[in-house]
Symmetry: C2
Subunit: 192 residues, 2 copies
């Protein structure tokens, strides 16, 4: 998988050949084909690997209040996690490239949908807990969770596609100041 | 340009050959090469064409109040405009595919950046007017404009890449209910 990652970073998805992946780990194409049914199958396994690694790493302090937990989840999606061999942004570059291709690829689309569902779900859950505890006002948790997930996704994409290095930090501030802040129950006064 | 559009829709950016564009308008590659310095130059011209058409069409009722104007601009970016030959989503599919490739393409990155700047700018302007007129509270217009632009972009991308047909409508509601609503000056009570 790390070899696939290196080959993808170097060649991009459209130009990637099985041979490039073999080169990265000194294996022949035959050996790779023994384990994977072609480039398509390998890419699907690779996407699952990237997503698993990403999701497995989200850890939030159990004692934190709900606003802090929400902010921590947003930050995790925007800035981390860091692993040994490749940076968060190396991974995200590949992730966003495969995402753009998912319109033509049912299996990838399914994997991205499952992942999106889980990321949004983890945010929705915190919003729901906040409403139950009276910390947040009565909002539509699904709609808020989706809005925050979208803001995160677009900011990462802007950093990658447009070179806006400050996009993730902008998104962190904007989500905190204009979405999370407006959820707080004690800000609300009128029920109009 | 319409021939380029048809060829792009059919073959995608990575697999597009000059010959495919020629086929769409019954011209030879030689004639296209006489006008454009290769696929790259043609793609840049095409991107400018799509962006110009898109931007030129944003029209907002001059007598509308500022919240209505802001909502109208958001809707325009999410749902329209419709032109004769191709739908908004046909165009957006190509737009988002080129966007994902802009990380490797300085000229496209520049064009997307200029376009992004103008779209965000048109939203920032309305927010600034709203603050001046006391309709919106004192917020950072740049940060709010960026957040709204990001939410729009991600929702369009989700519809295209993940097949979420309701993503634009979700984004319209979420931006209105959780961002624009929280900008309203008369909702604010405490200056903490």
């Amino acid at each position: 998988m790390e070899a696939t990652f290196r080959a993808l970073s170097e060649h991009g998805y459209s130009d990637l050949r099985m041979r490039d992946i073999g080169d990265e780990m000194e294996l022949t194409r035959q050996v790779i084909h023994y384990h994977f049914d072609g480039k398509y199958d390998l890419m699907s396994s690779f996407l699952e690997y990237v997503i698993d690694q990403y999701e497995g790493s989200v850890a939030v302090d159990a004692g934190a209040d709900l606003r802090t937990e929400l902010d921590a989840r947003v930050e995790q999606c925007l800035f981390g996690p860091e692993f040994e061999e490749f940076s968060h942004w190396d991974r995200m570059k590949v992730y966003h490239e495969l995402y753009a291709h998912a319109q033509n690829d049912e299996r990838h689309r399914e994997l991205f949908n499952e992942h999106y569902e889980r990321i949004r779900g983890s945010i929705v859950e915190v919003v729901e807990d906040g409403i139950d505890e009276g910390v947040f006002r009565e909002v539509d948790p699904e709609l808020v969770g989706q809005l925050i997930t979208d803001a995160i996704h677009a900011a990462r994409g802007r950093r990658i596609s447009l070179g806006h290095d400050d996009a993730p930090e902008q998104a962190r501030r904007a989500v905190d100041e204009y979405i999370v802040e407006s959820l707080l129950a004690d800000r609300e006064t009128t029920d109009d």
